[in-house]
Every structure is written in C-alpha cells, then in structure tokens.
Symmetry: C6
C-alpha cells in the first residue's frame, strides 16, 4: 500500500518543496525537502533529525546559491534579510549522507525564486561547491521507492546511469530519467517557469510582479 | 484514579496552553504545552526535558507561524520584540518524538493571537514546514489516556483514522474525533474566536481591541 | 546533630534567599536557593552543581516572573539592566529534578522586589509556565529533614496533601503546612510585606523609598 | 623537602594572588590563586585545569564581588572595562571542588582593590552567594600541607574548628587559625590595608592616589 | 577504471579549486578542495566530513593568507566583506590529517585572486604559520593515485623527495615533481598568471579589470 | 639523522617564532611555536592538535602579555585591533601539558614587538599569571632532543637545574643553560634587541620607524 497519495504531491507543489530519494534503514524511501523563509538576518535552521553530513550538504547548497545568486535570478540582498529553514519531515527517522544535495539545492532555489518544482519529479545526487553533481549509492532501492510512490521523473548524476541499466526494465517502466553533470542543468530541468504567489521579495526592492 | 481534575483543565484555559497526547515509557499520557511571551529579541527557549526531535518540532512550528503570520492574524513585528518560552510540565519525565507538532503550533498561535484553545480538546500529529499534518504512532494508548483524563475532542491526522477504527468503540464513547490534513484546519478547529485579556500587542502598534 | 543552626536561618533572611527541600542520594535535605543581582544585560547564571532539569526549572521560574512582572510589583525594565545569578550552596553535591521550582520562583521574586521570605519556612513543588504548582516526590523524607533542621512552615502542592497525611503525626508536630495550587498563592504566602534595604532599583527610575 | 621556598611567598605577595589549600589525589597541597585584570569588557577567563565545581566557585565569588562592590571599595564601572583572568598554577594537575571559594573571593578582591593579601596566610572554605562561609573536607591533610610549606596563618569556616581540634597539637604548633562565618570577615582578615602600585583604576575616574 | 575523467579536470579548472592527494582508509586518493566566497563578514565555513586536524589546516592556511595578503595580491579589506566556504567533496568519506595544507592554501589564494590553478596538477604537504612546507606520509600510495587519475604534475615538500626515489620509476613515468620548501614557492608554481572572470572585487574598490 | 637542518632554524628566525622542548609519546622532541597577527578584534585562534592544558597555557601567556604590555614595549591598543593565531606545527601529533608556557610567552611577545628570538635557543617551563616560571618534567629527554637538533642554548626554570646536573655532561657538551625564576628574565634572555621589518604597528599610531 502506497503511503503518499497523489493528493499529497499536489500539496507538495508549493515553491520551496522538492522530492528526494533516500536510503534509510528500512530501504529506499522518498523524502520531502521543505524550505521556508521568514524575516531575519540570514540564519540557516536545519531540522528533521539530520546527521552531520546531510547538514553539510545543506550548507554547501546554500553557499552555491549565494555565490550564483544573480545567475539563478535571486536578489543577493535577500540573504541578509531572510532566515532560512530547511526541514525534512518524518522527524522520528534519522537521515544522513550527501545524496540529498541536489534536492536541497532545488528546494532552496525554488524558495528564493518562487518558481515551483515540476510535480511527480524526484532527485538524488551529491553536490560540490563548484557546481558538479556526483554519483550516489543505493540507486536501485531508491528508484523502486520512487516508482512505488507514483513519481514519474528522476534526476540523477550521469555516473549513475550504469546503475539504472542494471535494473530490470519492467520494474521502472514509465519512469523517465534525466542524467546531469552540473547544477545548472538540475535547476534548468526541475524548476518550472511560472512563479507562484509566495515569491520572495525584499521589502523596498522595485521589481514588482 | 484520574490525575488531572476538571479544575485543572479550566486552569489550562489560558491563551498559550494546549493539550497534547504523548506516548512515554509509562504508556499513553497527556501533555500540556505552555507558551509564554516576554519582552525580548525573538529568542526561543525550550524546557521540560525535551529530546532533540521534540525541540525540532517546536522550531518547525515557530517557522510555520512566522511564515504565515499575517494569515494567522499575527503582526510579524512581534517576532523580533518578544522572547518565546515553550515549556512542557513534569520536568522529571523525558519527552521526545515529533507527535507534539500540531500541539506546539496551536500553543504558539494561541499565545501570539491571544485566542484561547477550546477546552477539553487534545491533539496529536507531526507537522511539516509546508503545512501538512502527518500521522503518528501509539494512537490507541494516547486516545485511552485522553479518555481517562476526561477530554472530549481529539484532533489528529486523517491517516490515523484507521487506527481509531481499530479501537473497541465502547472504550472511546463520547470522544469526538477531528481528522485534518493541513495546519490551517488545525488552527481553525482548535482556536476559539474570542481573544482574552492577555493578547499580545506590540508596543506602539495602533490596532487596539 | 543539626547542621544548620538557628543563627544560620537569620543569616539566610536576606531578600533573594529561599529555603527548599530536596531529595539527594543521602536522603531528604534542605537547600538554600540564593539569587543575586548585579549590573548587566539580563544574563542568567546558574551554579551549584545543578542538573539540566533543575536548570530548566530556574529558566521556567524566570520566564514566569518576566511575564507577570507588573503583578509581582517588578519594573520590567530591570530584566535588561541586571544580570541574575542563582546559586545553590554545597557545590560538591549534585542536585537535580523539578522540585525546586517554587523555591526558585520565590527566590527570584524576593530578589527583584526586595521583599524578604518568611523565616523558618521551606517549600517544595514543580512549577509550570502558566502558573500552576505540581506535586513532587519524596515528601516524607523532605518533611523530616525540614523538621530536623528546625523549620516551622512548609509550602507544597495541594496534590501532595495525601503524602503528608501518611506521615506519623508525632514526627511532624509543630510543622504548619500550606497547600497551594498556583504560583500567586506561593508568592502571597512566602514573601513578607516589608522591603529591606537592598531593594532593586533601576537607575534613573523615580520611585524612591 | 619543601617545594615552595620563602622566596616564593614573597613573589606571591602581589595584589591578586592568594594561597588556598586543596586536597588532590596526592593528598593535601597548597594552591596559588592568581587574578589578573586587563582592558576588556568584563569577560571571565578561567585556567589551570579546573573542574566544573571549581569554575562555579569562581563565578559565585565574582557575583559576590559585583553585588558588594561599593562595600569592598571597588568602583562598579570596572566590571565592564576589564577582563578578568583567574589562573591556578600547575596546569598538569586537575583541580576541583568548592573549597577554593574564599581564596578566589580574596584573590578577586585583592586584584580589584590593589590591596595585597597578608603573607604566609592560607585559606580554605566554600562560599555562598549571600556571603556565608561553609565548611569543607580534608582539613587535616590540608593543614599539614600548609605547615610543611611554611605558612603561618589559616582562615577557615567556624564549622571546621572541630576538625582542627582533632589534629595532634604538636603537628600544628606555630600555626594560627582564624574561624569565620561570613565573607566580610574573610576580606577583613586577609587583605592588607596598604594599596600597592598596580591598583586598578578605571580610566577617566578622578580618585587619584 | 578511472573515476575522474579528463572532462572533470576541465570542470575543476575554476578559480578556487585545487587538487590534493590524500590517504584514506581505501588507500591513496585524490581530493578536490573547493573555495567559494560570498557576501558576508569574514566567517569561515568548512564542510566535507573533515576531522579536527584538517579543519585546523584550513584555519592555518587562512591566517597565512591574511597575514601575507598584499604579497599575494589580495586586498585585505576582502576578509571582512566575504564569507569563505571550503568544501571537500565526497561528503560520505571522513577525511583528516594535515597533508591538505598546501592544497587549502592554494585553493584560498586562487579564490581570493581569481587566478586559476594549473590543470592536471596535484599537491600534498603540511603548512606552518610562518610559511614552511612540511613532509607528509603515504607518499607512494598518493602518487600512484595521482598517476591513475591522469594527473601530470605533483607539488610536495623537499623532504619527501626521498620517498619519490623509492618508487619504481616505471610506475610514475610522465609525472613531473616539484619540491618546495616554502609556501611562496607553492603559490608561484601552482597559480596561473591570468585571472578569470569571477575574480573577487571588493565593492567600491577602484582596480577594475 | 637530524630532522631539522640549520637552514630550518634560519627560516624560523622570524619574529613570532620560538622553539620549545616537548615530551611526546615518541620521547623528547622540539616544537616550533608560531604566532601570526592579522587585522581583527582580538580573537585568539589556537591550532596544532593542542590539548586543553596547552591551550590554557596560551591563554595564560596572552593574559600576562596584556597585563604587562607597556613594560614589554607593546601598545595595548593592539589587542583590540589584531587577531592572534598561535600554531604548533606537525598537526598529526597530539600535544599537551603546561611546559610550553614560556615558549608561548616568548612567541607572543616577539610577534607583538617585532623583536626576533635568538637563533639556536630553546625553552621549556610552565608560566603563572603573576610572572613566575615553574619547573617541568621530562628534562633529560627534552635536553637530548635539543642537542640532537643542533640547538645551542636552553632556558628553563631554576628548579630544573638539579635535573640537568643528573645528565652525563658529555651528552650535553656545548649546550648553554639559562636558569630563570620569572618571566621578565625569559623575555630579556630570549628576545633580540633589533626589530625586524614586520613589526606590529597599530594603524594611526605615530611612532614610525
Ligand atoms: Ca517515509
Ligand atoms: Ca554548465
Ligand atoms: Ca503525566
Ligand atoms: Ca489549506
Ligand atoms: Ca545539606
Ligand atoms: Ca490565581
Ligand atoms: Ca603542588
Ligand atoms: Ca557580616
Ligand atoms: Ca575519491
Ligand atoms: Ca621565501
Ligand atoms: Ca617532531
Ligand atoms: Ca622580576
């Protein structure tokens, strides 16, 4: 029986929310990464029972977004005027490892730009500070979890393509894979064009809708 | 013999106080979540022998309240002018887990708006940063504790409805259940309309009663 | 042989000093809770080999005092102009648990108002942030320690009355018990009316003696 | 063979230096407590391989000095203009316990007033925040160490007098004992009247020598 | 099979990225050290599952760069206007030890000057605060990893020359070695002359391209 | 075979660098203590895999330098305008104990005054806050390490003279020993008169070269 209904994915379809694939002690699973902004001074709050490596992924994703703000369409002034909270639900389950990197990057970029993530799309991949996407482990279990949960597209590192080819094709029928090398490809593939209403605007800045 | 008398629930009926259901090493139990505001700079103080996951729930609830302040009828200026203390009595008992999420959200919202929580109502459910309510465990023990303590209504996640249906109906006769999917439903169901005297007002703001 | 002489209780009779009852590994004992204020910015310093639960009690007591400052006769400006130090003597003995709550509340209120605590009076009870007094354990051992030390009155939670009734009356002859439900009753019962010389005054405030 | 020569005690005879008695894993020993002030903002730095209880003694001593500054002849403005460093030499030896309390108080008061401590005088006793001196353990071993080191006077709590009376008088011939109840007696007994050259002066204050 | 393709080294060829040689529990390996700057106040953020000794190397490298900023062609004002993030990819692998010192120095200098590091060049060596390069262990395994990964030049301490001479020459055919004594030699050997587009400029400073 | 060549000692001959003697798990060894200053606000950064006692030595040395700045020829304004980094190379080797005290004092004083330390001179001794030098252990092993490394003079506490006298004189032929009691003797013996180019100057101060 499938835990997250279709309805749930629609609920997820707010800017700041991205779907990742994880490998926990119960096997492959899907993770929601949620980013929320509030008035503040640029503090980063991380919750959801995250281990140190996963917290470092969030920090790395944020530094990347800060260093490439203008390319991503983000006013850099926002980083000193908003607090950033990244939460990964199901607080009772410990989560760790670097494989949520591109999902965190996407969640942050979505929150800062107000552009929503494509529905029914999941991601897995480590990020580097210079913008590369690195391969991750547990691909088979993660992909089967994505399939079970009703997802339709998966973004992952080009070096994980070989792991997909080893899965029996009938198990993953209907799933579309996107192989990427760099973060700008991730952003391009997963963020939708239209902004939604809760776009971040730095108070006093002129660029109205 | 019942530990909390009716009198106790009346005492609880101040803004900032909400009743949760917990599952401790002695079985199901009820928890009071108390929020108090004082002049300050937005610090969050957490006491009551809380584990890390429960502290993260409080932090997540606060971020949700901050991000949705206007919808909840809260002047956002309050977050930089008040310190927030959330306490869970019975300091000798260690408490943990994400299931106090909606109770913390309700306690915070009640403290900030001055609207009291309905009497004889308890809640249990994890919250996410984007406003969803997630199911939690130990439902049977929690509900029986609520019944024993003389409570009359319980708010919980729609995905926990199946757990209620597995309880022998005569054990829960007279208890009314509210199943919710999102936090705005929680707020709508549990907060009373009338404000009480200790409503938070940011000094210098014009909106008198 | 009795450790604290009568002389000692007179010495204790300064504003900011309250007598609590504790249950340590050597059995029931009495504790002095001492609060001292000095010029500063509102920091709270806690010493005396206190465990986390006892530190949380101090924090909860302080939040209560801050939220009810005007009712307690305290100028709220004092909280940003004084540092607060709470010390529990006999630093070699580890102390923990929530039962010093009302003693800490009384010590703080006494220090801030300059009103002394009644002599030969001890207290024990957990506090909640909304102002309730909760029952605590080890009552028999604590009361016998109070008796041995020459104390004359004890304040405790109404829910601990049953524990007093189980003690052989001849062991507690001459001890007077006060059962309370809420913190304002504690303050009313234990603080004396007259202020002493070392009353706290915020520099620049007009209310001279 | 005696470790500290007479010459060493002369060297110790600077304001800010006091001699305590400790009980370490090698038996009774003498401790120098050194306080040094430098331009700063009131930070307290503690070094010398001190355990938590001993660090709390230093903090308690400092709060006492701050709260009674004027009585001790100290300009309270100094506490925000100087950093305070308390060091206990022989960094390789772990030290703990509350018995250095009155020595720390004396060292601090000496540093702030510029009044030197009497030579050949040692102290041992716990302090409380309201100014009492409490008894400590290991008296026999401490006193014998003081005797071996060539000290001539010892200040201790009146409740330790019974421990002195149990020592064979010929072992402590020539040692003079001062029994005290409160800290102001300690200060009166151990601090010399004359100020030395390195008295603390807050820049801009008018009271020249 | 070789993990990092040539294409990867081109991607690495951004200012702020340097290649180090490490000795992990799986044997010799290559490490990318990535430095990214963003608007801020001089904070240093370190990620990549680094142990304390490796974090200290980063701190030492930064102090060296700060103390020799002008010689390195860096405007010292930058240190209070930028946050610095050093990340070492493959977050799942714990990394420690001092041997990444010269690589961190090079990465930082490259990020601050905008000068790129020579492609196909790796480094290994501890740094001291006064500018010396110290020898490190595991040379044979590190060099073989560099060879396998397709690197062409290696910079290391002159005291490691003897370790190179013990390797069978046919295993390292085509690799060029640079032996250095001091950090200024490292900077001279590894940083290219041309600046690339993302050179750091402190806003308001006049030295345009 | 000797690890540090003469050439290395010349490199060491910069202001801020002092040579200590340590006793590590591999026996006696020499340590370089390096101090570097950069623009800042008086922070103290300590690196080199130092244990707590050794970190406390650095803190004690700094307090001494701050309290005696004018006697040492240091403008006290420098302490709020520079960050201080003390590093002890060979980060892979854990180091601890109080015996580097006088070496840290010398390194700091050298860095702040710009006066270099005499070449081929090593030191070992604990410091106290009031300026005394205390004896340390492991003298024989440390002295033999100094001899092996080609050093010519050693400064140590007068109470360690007896340990030198127990060493076979032919092992230490050519080594000159300086026995000291107080820190001002250390400074006088080890710091050279001439300042070198990198003397610390507080910007805006008038005393040009
Ligand atoms: Ca799940
Ligand atoms: Ca690209
Ligand atoms: Ca309970
Ligand atoms: Ca809704
Ligand atoms: Ca006691
Ligand atoms: Ca009442
Ligand atoms: Ca000793
Ligand atoms: Ca007195
Ligand atoms: Ca690798
Ligand atoms: Ca050079
Ligand atoms: Ca060595
Ligand atoms: Ca001298």
């Amino acid at each position: 029986r499938q835990k997250y209904s279709n309805e749930m994915y629609k609920a997820a379809n707010l800017s700041g929310v991205a779907v990742g694939l994880a490998w926990t002690y119960v096997g492959g699973d899907i993770l929601f990464i949620e980013t929320s902004l509030s008035e503040g001074k640029g503090e980063l709050r991380l919750t959801g029972n995250l281990g140190n490596v996963m917290k470092e992924s969030a920090s790395t994703a944020l530094s990347y977004v800060q260093a490439h703000a203008r390319n991503l369409g983000i006013d850099p002034a926002v980083f000193t005027k908003k607090n950033i909270h990244i939460h990964v639900p199901e607080g009772a389950v410990p989560k760790d490892g670097p494989s949520a990197g591109i999902t965190m990057l996407s969640s942050l970029t979505s929150a800062f730009t107000g552009r929503r993530i494509k529905p029914y799309l999941a991601m897995t991949g480590e990020i580097t500070l210079r913008g590369q996407v690195l391969p991750v482990g547990g691909i088979k279990e993660k992909i089967l979890a994505a399939k079970r949960a009703g997802l339709k597209e998966v973004v992952l590192c080009w070096q994980n393509e070989k792991d997909i080819q080893e899965i029996n094709p009938q198990y993953i029928k209907g799933l579309k894979f996107h192989y990427v090398r760099e973060m700008d490809e991730v952003v391009e593939k997963v963020l939708q064009k239209g902004k939604n209403r809760d776009q971040v605007r730095v108070s006093g800045s002129a660029d109205a809708r």
